[in-house]
């Protein structure tokens, strides 16, 4: 586990002052970064350098720094969340890079995710899709005992696999069509696999897909890039389930 020092790195990063401004790449150098440092800690160090030099620091989204909140994004060297598998950017460590590397950092690029500043994008389209039906319509109180609803171990596990989605948007960023199908299908599967969610499964699939289309996300052409880049390894089999729910909803109309 012995950490090494990366003596010099070149950071090529997208700078854009606000949603309306024109963006461009700027390159900065950074020195003496430990391989045990996380990618975002590297950016913290770079930002502190920039502030001391009187340069506006790079804005990027982040919060929990343990791979679960879904806040961090970053398109690093052409890959959402960078060159490691099944991690978010905050879990990416500098040991994945070599001394002297040039690292290119861009925001998520998708019509439905406009840039707010630098590497920060607006993902509120995801919120709107979930508000269109990503829930079970129960109020607080008046529900049956937790053990009154039997759920097989396998169904609970499969539901949990889909429910692990952190809503980061990597699937959209990875997709050449900027499709949100993996995100939508994860929520639809999470709930459709459980008896509690089955009641509204069809309407849920229909409404969420309609909202997704309305918000300017592209269609799915099965390239599987989303699954490959998903930090939580959400399977594209969820998309097949979504398609089944959706078609069955359309047929029953």
């Amino acid at each position: 586990m012995a950490d090494k020092i990366l003596k010099k790195l070149y950071i090529e990063v997208w700078r854009q002052n606000n949603a309306k401004a024109k963006g461009k790449f700027e390159t900065y150098t950074i020195e003496n970064i430990s391989t045990g440092t996380s990618f975002l800690e590297m950016l913290d160090i770079l930002n502190n350098d920039l502030i001391e030099k009187g340069v506006d620091p790079i804005a990027f989204d982040h919060d929990c720094r343990e791979g679960i909140c879904g806040t961090c994004s970053l398109y690093i060297n052409g890959r959402p969340h960078g060159p490691d598998s099944a991690v978010t950017t905050c879990q990416l460590h500098m040991r994945k890079f070599k001394d002297g590397d040039t690292i290119t950092i861009e925001p998520w690029r998708a019509k439905a995710f406009p840039v707010i500043k630098d590497l920060v994008v607006n993902r509120s389209a995801f919120e709107q899709i979930l508000q269109a039906g990503g829930f079970v319509s129960v109020n607080t109180g008046g529900v049956p005992d937790g053990n009154a609803i039997l759920i097989s171990h396998e169904d609970a596990e499969e539901s949990m696999d889909a429910a692990s989605c952190i809503g980061c948007g990597a699937c959209v960023a990875a997709c050449k069509n900027s499709s949100a199908m993996l995100f939508v299908s994860a929520k639809v599967s999470h709930l459709a696999k459980l008896p509690q969610g089955k009641v509204e499964a069809k309407a849920r699939a229909r409404n969420m897909v309609a909202k997704m289309d309305e918000l300017g996300f592209g269609g799915c052409t099965n390239t599987q890039a989303c699954e490959a880049e998903c930090p939580k390894s959400i399977s594209i089999s969820n998309i097949a389930r979504l398609n089944r729910e959706y078609l069955s909803a359309r047929f029953s109309e």
Binding site: D61, C64, Q91, T140, G141, I151, Q196
Partner: protein, 646 residues
């Protein structure tokens, strides 16, 4: 002095909540439509409260600084949620959960509040299941349970190592449903910067739109603060980077008293600090102590070789391993409460048995569990945690024991509230980690999720009705009232002041310095001399910060450094109050360990005669010493005893 009436209902413990609910007022559906409630924060407490209040018919405005309510730090809670369901037939009960929580909190919490928490806990599980939370299931389809520290029963419900995530997504789904219906107006990327009082009552907030920098006013009939804890005062903690104590601190400045600020929890199983470039610490769930065994070498020379990297942990023979928790606490073993486990780890490392290069780590070993249960069982239980560990440390915990060390994790202290969860300001409520009420001096594992959801789903929606019933004739709050104008002006002035200092040092520079002072003198082990020193150091550093901090960027644009500077400015004040409180409490209890108060064998020693009270601090104005009030803790049902896990 303000009123410190805890409003605990009279009568037998088990009947207090029922009787209270029967006695308090309710608001008619027609009147609920006319009333507005602001909820700040969208973690388990905030999201569940906002959704439940909206379902009842109130008009809710909800706020979070993140870009989505789903990203609140409750999402990161791993291990589970407690509930007194007794599904395992192991003689669990509401009373046992109540008793464990009071004892775990080292007898510094209110009996009535804790009993109520235990009483509503089974409802939480039912609610979450109905929402579609995919809790772990047995093969027969029933809910599964695991054990947690400080208890002898299995009452913890879980969804792999992502229980907080799944519970928050459940509450978030309920919130989304109400947003879609128009009952909740959601303001993301908005940060509360002040609470506005009119005629002594909370009537709204001032918030900054983090994208445009615009300072906005929002009015309501009541304000609920659900903004979590202040652990980031230590810079390095398991909290999210944005977690902060500012909303609670603004309430304090406006008259909401602050309780037990020195009670913070140090979690025993975090990935150890490495180097000086680190920004945060990562927790490894307490649930791991169900199956992992904690040890260090018995021989100092082995520890030395481990530190130098000459040997690995698997080179150390079975008989040369010191399973110190099992040795010191045979009845609870590896499942002692967090404060006990943390101190024991520190004790071994301070004695020279630490195992990483900095001598500040112990092992958490799964070899034995893998031998007993098989790798696939361990993978199913903790797979995501093992993956997380491997990504951070580049070591495979299935083969090499994890290295762990204590880190700041949770704030038991917080805004003082009465039984109704109302602060000392009328119409201002505080729920979840933001309040002080249920965990005493130490929180048991899997109880934070329980408390956040108990407050939001099942307590606040009832108790706030009692207050709002008196407000049905109050018209919509006028945000052009002079109180709003004045509050906005002060907020703007403070931001501009910070921004225009244009000094030489970054916000992080000061935050790290403050964190070091806090960890060294107000951390795991405290004494009078150190605390007095810390107070002086914090004051000096704060002065320097206000003269020499450098905030770049623009006022009217997304500016993370400006956000951080504002939060840090409050952390100085919070840190100072923590030290003052720790100085007053010359006893060791729960997470608060005073070196002056120990037993002969080095265990924490409480002093019930002098300190069986809640320390309640009242703000006296900027630069003035706060006043300490004491709310006596009265135990009618539980006999206080020195906590023993032996």
């Amino acid at each position: 002095m303000q009123n410190l009436d805890s409003k605990i209902p009279a009568g037998p413990l088990a009947e207090k909540w029922s009787k209270h609910k029967a006695a308090i007022r309710v608001v008619s559906p027609a009147n609920k439509r006319k009333l507005e409630v602001i909820v700040v924060g969208t973690g388990l407490g905030g999201a569940s409260a906002a959704a439940s209040l909206a379902e009842l018919g109130y008009n809710v405005k909800a706020f979070c600084y993140q870009d989505s309510p789903r990203r609140a730090h409750s999402i990161a809670a791993q291990g589970g949620i407690n509930a007194a369901k007794n599904y395992q037939n192991d003689n669990d009960s509401v009373y046992r959960l109540f008793y464990d929580t009071i004892k775990g909190g080292d007898y510094r919490a209110r009996e009535a509040n804790v009993y109520r928490l235990a009483e509503v806990s089974p409802n939480i599980i039912d609610q979450c299941v109905a929402q579609g939370v995919p809790f772990a299931r047995e093969y027969g389809g029933l809910l599964d349970n695991r054990s947690f520290g400080g208890v002898l029963v299995s009452r913890t419900f879980y969804a792999r190592g992502q229980t907080g995530q799944q519970l928050l997504l459940g509450a978030y789904q309920a919130l989304n449903r109400q947003i879609a219906k128009g009952n909740v107006k959601m303001y993301t990327r908005h940060e509360m910067l002040d609470v506005v009082l009119i005629g002594g009552k909370a009537r709204g907030i001032i918030a900054r739109d983090l994208i445009t920098g615009e300072i906005k006013r929002f009015g309501a009939h009541a304000v609920v603060v659900a903004t979590g804890g202040y652990g980031n005062v230590f810079f390095l903690s398991t909290n999210a980077m944005g977690s902060n104590g500012s909303a609670a601190w603004q309430c304090y400045r406006k008259g909401a008293m602050f309780a037990n600020p020195c009670f913070v929890q140090i979690h025993p199983t975090c990935i150890p600090v490495h180097g000086d470039q680190q920004s945060k610490l990562t927790l490894m769930s307490e649930s791991l102590r169900n199956d992992g065994r904690v040890w260090v070498p018995k021989k100092k020379e082995d520890a030395q070789k481990l530190r130098e990297g000459k040997i690995g942990p698997n080179d150390i023979a079975e008989e040369d391993r010191d399973f110190y928790l099992e040795r010191r606490y045979p009845s609870y073993g590896n499942l002692v409460p967090r404060d006990v486990a943390s101190r024991a780890a520190k004790e071994r490392c301070d004695a020279g048995y630490g195992v990483n290069s900095e001598g500040k780590a112990v092992y958490l070993d799964f070899k034995y569990a893998i031998e007993r249960l098989g790798r696939n069982v361990i993978e199913e239980r903790y797979g995501n945690l093992f993956q997380m560990y491997e990504k951070i440390t580049d070591q495979d915990p299935y083969k090499v024991p994890m290295q762990i060390y204590p880190a700041i994790h949770y704030s038991m202290g917080g805004t003082w509230v009465d039984y109704n969860l109302m602060t000392t300001v009328q119409g201002l409520y505080s729920i979840g980690e933001a309040n002080f009420s249920d965990h005493g001096a130490n929180r048991l594992g899997a109880s934070a999720l329980m408390q956040g959801l108990a407050d939001g789903y099942f307590i606040l929606p009832y108790t706030i009705g009692d207050y709002l019933a008196g407000e049905i004739m109050t018209p919509k709050t006028d945000i052009n009232a002079p109180e709003f104008v004045e509050a906005e002006k002060k907020v703007t002035e403070r931001i501009e002041k910070l921004f225009h200092i244009k000094g030489t040092k970054t916000v992080d520079y000061y935050h790290k310095k403050l964190g070091n002072i806090m960890w060294d003198f107000v951390g795991m082990s405290r004494n009078e001399e150190g605390l007095k020193k810390a107070i002086v150091m914090i004051r000096e550093l704060r002065e320097e910060f206000w003269k020499d901090v450098k905030v770049p960027g623009e006022l009217n644009n997304l500016n993370p450094e400006l956000e951080k500077a504002g939060r840090l400015a409050d952390f100085f004040d919070i840190g100072e109050l923590m030290a003052l409180d720790a100085l007053d409490r010359n006893e060791s209890c729960g997470g608060h360990f005073r070196e002056e108060s120990v037993t002969e064998d080095g265990e924490a020693l409480r002093n019930d005669e002098k300190y069986t009270y809640v320390s309640v601090w009242e703000h006296q104005g900027e630069g003035k010493e706060p006043v300490l009030h004491k709310e006596p803790l009265i135990f009618e049902n539980i006999k206080l005893s020195q906590r023993s896990y032996k």
